[in-house]
Subunit: 256 residues, 2 copies
């Protein structure tokens, strides 16, 4: 399995002989304003450019979208991707959105479909603490994570845009993943705390999955991120976690 | 805690000093045709009448709806219930449906809200096997279960319209419920198997939750049910499970 960190949650994953593109956010640096009510909202998003030309991201077998937030999916991606590509989404609501963008082969992850031998399991997550999501549900909405399984591959778990919580702990127990991708830039909403994982959440996952390798993703691309790669690396060193946690730069491939 | 079995998944639950009504399906016997493509589709639904006058079901503090299938929610309930009652639903899509029916205080379970001291946790489930849900997602859709918690109460888990699967197993581990409500009439879709729990699923839950009491619900009310209360009771006796599994009749209250 290879996981290439592109930018934010956009990954190219080679798994079970297939190539998957996750959460395609293709806009240029500064494409839209920072999110209101979040740290550093004066910064525009994305805060960095894509590390590769968009053309390099189009030769994939399928797209998987964990949710439709604007840092995971945008018009630039909608325009660039082939309209007949198999496109997996979390539920009927997102299917409607992707179909409306012109895609003709949109499949729902509920039911844990198999794509050319790769089993794609939908996993629960939550885009903030209970207090946070209850307070601003209309902004945070529904999200999912993924588990990929194939007879010739280690098990891969992408937690998606979730904080560490009972759902994540249950997924770790249920699927015993060998490789785990965590979205962990500690993006925050002012007054409501983290809406994806922070460094302590990474430590919890590290502790609960003592044999898994962890890939830190969704770093240094959005205005409301509060944890840099450098700060995370410092934390990993401080806590003796560098043996199993990778922090790839944008454009870097993790061979796993 | 008291759980009164009304009919199908309609329950009145006294918990933490509050009274909850779940999945209010109020139509009279024979209100609509049997489900196409299911066993005994010549029978009309519901197959039995409500055991109590509708008026007896209206004095509750809140409604919780696990999903909007027509054997869980109907126009009769929409007309009868007070429009300002706190009404909990699984996600924004169902919120739209309930708001369109005139309800003014519709709350989403995502974020695991607290209602007057009762924590309501949304739990994942799946309305059939992977093969079944992948094949007929547009019919089966999204569902949820619930966990109720209160400092002075045992933990209650309502699995909802789900088969036994990794999600249910994870919920049992995460929440260690003391009381579990299972929808277990083994409703089936022809050629695609069970879409809620069957007797073997009940046995799996019994085995995995060795200290919990289990209430069998969603029995003998829909055309596609294939497991009767009598058959379930026979199975429980055969397998030595009568000590912890209750099979209430419609109208009967379980004091737990």
């Amino acid at each position: 399995m290879n996981i290439r960190q592109i930018r934010n949650a956009t990954l190219v994953i080679d798994y079970g002989g297939k190539r998957f593109l996750t959460d395609p956010w293709f806009g240029p640096k500064g494409d839209f304003p920072g999110f209101d009510g979040t740290p550093n909202s004066h910064l525009r998003n994305p805060t960095v450019d894509l590390p590769v030309p968009i053309d390099e991201l189009l030769g994939v077998d399928a797209v998987i979208l964990t949710h439709v937030h604007p840092d995971h999916w945008d018009d630039h991606a909608a325009r660039a991707l082939p309209k007949d590509i198999p496109f997996f989404v979390q539920h009927a609501g997102d299917r409607e959105i992707i179909r409306a963008a012109g895609f003709t082969d949109v499949r729902v992850l509920t039911g844990n479909p198999v794509f050319d031998g790769v089993k794609i399991i939908k996993t629960p997550g939550q885009h903030g603490s209970d207090e946070c999501v209850t307070a601003i549900y209309d902004l945070l909405g529904e999200v999912c994570g993924l588990v990929l399984r194939h007879p010739s591959e280690p098990t891969l778990y992408l937690a998606g845009d979730t904080v560490f919580n009972d759902y994540v702990e249950a997924n770790l127990r249920s699927f015993s993943p060998d490789v785990i991708v965590l979205n962990c830039c500690d993006a925050q909403v002012t007054g409501l705390g983290s809406i994806i994982m922070n460094k302590e959440d990474v430590r919890e996952v590290y502790r609960l999955a003592p044999h898994a390798r962890i890939v830190a993703s969704h770093m240094e691309a959005v205005n409301h991120a509060t944890l840099t790669r450098a700060a995370l690396r410092g934390f990993l060193t401080e806590h003796g976690m560098t043996d199993r946690v990778l922090v790839p730069e944008d454009g870097e491939t993790c061979v796993l």
